[in-house]
């Protein structure tokens, strides 16, 4: 029987790992992720979850342990955030190359420096090219469901790649929402035990994994095969999402399209702030706008043809990036432009907005204004420069802080000379 209970995003992630009957959980704590491994540790301790949880000395070792355990053919779950994900970066690329599947949850948090606890997507996007597939969540329900989807996707014999499920710190990690908790029987039928095929590790039958290659030719082969497997993930994901909808009655397409049927305009964004865009779409529709929301859930592989289809015939779109590629701009904007280049019915106007860095809120009014900017740009036939969502009031407050940081240098310097 399905129960409907209140769970934080972290709680939902932990339940996903439990319902998936994860065998092995290498762990290392980091805010705002720690609640995930604390929940699992408590269940293991109380005998409610039959798994082995091991605390490692770093995220680098944790991801190594995850990949190594996956390479023996057991089901592996782990979780990290922000600096932790970056500390493991070398091993993210390495274990993806092993073609050993497991699921890693990342709770997004802005990167240092300056250091913060609140979310943006630069951490997860740093892992963009690693070979891990990526699912991005907007609600706590989606977090739980995505962990189950991710295991199916990762372990599919056509894919065999690790998958990251991403949720935003605070806005999901510490926020409770009603979540349907599926019963174990349905989960078992959707997600059967991991069949590792030929990646079983047995003492009597040694194999060598992750071998060295010299020369570009074999290297190119292995890397490009990994890429092809990831691209294959688009079709495989659709199959799995259909199966999920049949089993649980919830649809999680690779790209969420909200009120896009007759849309001329769209917001394009990923993550939990996209639910705010849904709200803005409803408000704008009330006053006659034909506007919708396009939200890629699957970011790797990048669902190019679905995005082309959804954008076809639009007059304009606001692409809202909660990330910043330093020296370039918004990552999603760049990727969408690349996907749409040369398409005859692609929108002429794709305006880039950078918002929500370090958890900076995006208000209703800002969504309305972004829509207005896009419409004015389309009417004028001129796309404005990328816009950081930052107000005069914020700059004034920042100036106050800077004044404190600088004037104290003088004041306290003078004082210490006299004392």
């Amino acid at each position: 029987m399905t129960q409907r209970i209140l769970l934080t995003g972290n709680g939902a992630a932990a339940w996903g790992a439990r319902l998936a009957r994860s065998d092995y959980i290498p762990a290392f704590p980091i805010t705002p992720q720690t609640e995930i491994i604390e929940s699992i540790a408590a269940w293991v301790e109380q005998g409610e979850m039959d798994a082995r949880l091991v605390t490692l000395e770093s995220e680098h070792s944790m991801v190594t342990a995850a990949g190594a355990a996956a390479a023996t053919g057991v089901r592996v779950f782990s979780a990290t955030s922000s600096q932790g994900l970056l500390y493991a970066m070398e091993m993210l690329y390495t274990v993806a190359g092993w073609r050993a599947p497991f699921v890693l949850v990342n709770v997004s948090r802005g990167l240092s420096a300056p250091i913060t606890l609140e979310p943006d997507h630069n951490d997860i996007l740093a892992a963009r090219d690693s070979g891990f597939l990526q699912l991005h969540c907007a609600t706590c329900q989606e977090v739980l469901d995505s962990v189950l989807l991710a295991f199916r996707l990762a372990e599919d014999r056509r894919i065999r790649l690790p998958v990251i499920v991403n949720l935003d710190g605070f806005y999901l990690s510490f926020t409770r929402e009603p979540v349907n908790l599926p019963d174990l029987g349905s989960v078992d039928s959707f997600l059967p035990p991991f069949d590792p095929e030929n990646i079983r590790f047995r003492a009597s039958a040694p194999i060598s994994q992750a071998v060295a290659v010299l020369g570009g030719s074999p290297y190119s082969y292995f890397r490009y095969e990994t890429h092809l497997a990831a691209l294959h993930g688009l079709g495989v994901y659709d199959e799995i999402a259909c199966d999920f909808a049949r089993t649980f009655g919830r649809r999680h397409p690779a790209v969420e399209s909200y009120r896009m049927d007759d849309a001329q305009w769209a917001f394009v964004m990923i993550g939990s702030f996209a639910t705010k865009a849904r709200e803005a779409v409803d408000r704008l529709r009330e006053i006659g706008w034909r506007i919708g929301l396009i939200r890629p859930r699957l970011l790797r592989p990048f669902p190019v043809s679905t995005l082309r289809h959804l954008c076809s015939g639009l007059r304009g779109a606001a692409v809202i990036d909660q990330n910043l590629s330093i020296g370039f701009g918004g990552v999603l904007h760049g990727e969408l432009c690349a996907a749409l280049y040369g398409e005859t019915k692609a929108p002429r106007t794709l305006v880039s907005f950078i918002g929500g860095l370090g958890g900076r809120d995006i208000s209703d009014e800002e969504f309305f204004e972004m829509a207005a900017v896009v419409r004015r740009a389309a009417d004028a036939g001129q796309t404005p420069a990328p816009r950081l969502l930052y107000t005069e009031d914020e700059l004034r407050e920042l100036r106050t802080l800077q004044a404190v940081a600088h004037s104290e240098r003088n004041d306290l310097g003078a004082r210490s000379k006299t004392t």
């Binding site: 605070f170 705010k276 408000r283 006053i287 809120d361 209703d364 009014e365 005069e392 800077q402």
Partner: protein, 314 residues
């Protein structure tokens, strides 16, 4: 969700340790058990006990797409009136004529309205005997949640009771009984104000105040690097204002060990003089009570800040 569908937006403000996260969970669960879709969350940073923190609850009859900090609260609950004069605590952010302020204070409501020029209705949290008694402080969250549930209106008493069983049950029978009795007493005491909270309507996309965005000016790294050039900046921040409990050293029992309390103090707020006698810097002690827990001869006692201030004044 259509704009005619109401969302209750409720913010709890208090100090770390006063149970505002607990209050938001009790209220969130009570709404949920009453048939609402809900969202509840605490918001905190790297602080510890005593720091200004807040938590919030949204409740509606259909799924909630709003997210994050509540900008225009319908109800603001304040567990500690010393937060009101602190701008960084943001207690009054976004309040207007429709906002109800529920305040725990010894000062009369009319005087607060005058002091802070509050535009809406201000209601004092009923005194249920807990504020002066340190063990009782732990249950302030339940009191706030019970009162807020009644002010909001659509939460039935038995749903509040069931919620407290879920949220406080794991803390043991004694804590559960204490939470239940305080929350239900506060719920009952608010009968005359039942349902006074009025959910605000959604922002209109037709008639809104456009954000005043700025283009950030380019500035040299000498200005724009995140550096603080001053020294002793933390000394300027009077974190002693955070305390709800005050550690007091009983010098008759202090062994002059010279190192335990001062080493464990996470804020360097205990200095030891050349004779080995510790002294607490109350301008910066945040009231975390780590020293009280660590002192081997139990020579440091926790007393209420309010009580000590009253004593000092007399």
């Amino acid at each position: 969700m259509g704009s005619n569908e109401k969302i209750y937006r409720i913010r709890f403000h208090g100090r770390g340790g006063q149970g505002m996260k607990t209050a938001s969970r009790i209220l969130g669960t009570a709404f949920f058990l009453s048939g609402f879709e809900i969202q509840d969350a605490p918001r905190y940073g790297a602080e510890r006990r005593g720091a200004p923190i807040f938590a919030y609850v949204r409740a509606a009859r259909s799924p909630i797409n709003e997210r994050g900090i509540i900008r225009r609260p319908d109800l603001v609950v304040v567990a500690d009136d010393t937060l009101l004069p602190i701008p960084a605590a943001g207690v009054l952010a976004g309040v207007d004529e429709h906002t109800i302020l529920l305040l725990s204070s010894d000062v009369r409501a009319a005087e607060w309205v005058d002091r802070i020029r509050f535009p809406g209705q201000l209601i004092l949290l009923p005194k249920l005997g807990e504020t002066e008694d340190p063990p009782g402080l732990r249950f302030l969250g339940a009191t706030c949640a019970g009162a807020a549930a009644r002010l909001a209106g659509p939460v039935a008493r038995d749903c509040l009771e069931a919620s407290i069983h879920m949220e406080a049950g794991p803390l043991g029978a004694a804590a559960l009984a204490e939470n239940l009795s305080r929350a239900l007493a506060a719920y009952d005491a608010m009968a005359s104000h039942a349902g006074c909270v009025q959910p605000a309507t959604a922002t209109s996309a037709d008639d809104y105040i456009a954000p005043r965005w700025v283009d950030l000016p380019f500035e040299q790294a000498s200005v724009s690097a995140p550096a603080i050039h001053g020294t002793l900046t933390s000394a300027l921040s009077k974190t002693g204002l955070w305390r709800t409990l005050r550690p007091v050293i009983d010098y008759a029992r202090c062994k002059r060990c010279w190192w335990v309390c001062s080493t464990f103090c996470p804020d360097g707020a205990i200095q030891v003089d050349s004779a080995g006698q510790p002294g607490i810097d109350y301008e910066h002690c945040k009231g975390c009570m780590v020293c009280v827990a660590q002192c081997p001869p139990h020579a440091i006692e926790a007393v209420t800040e309010r009580g000590s201030q009253a004593e000092e004044a007399s």
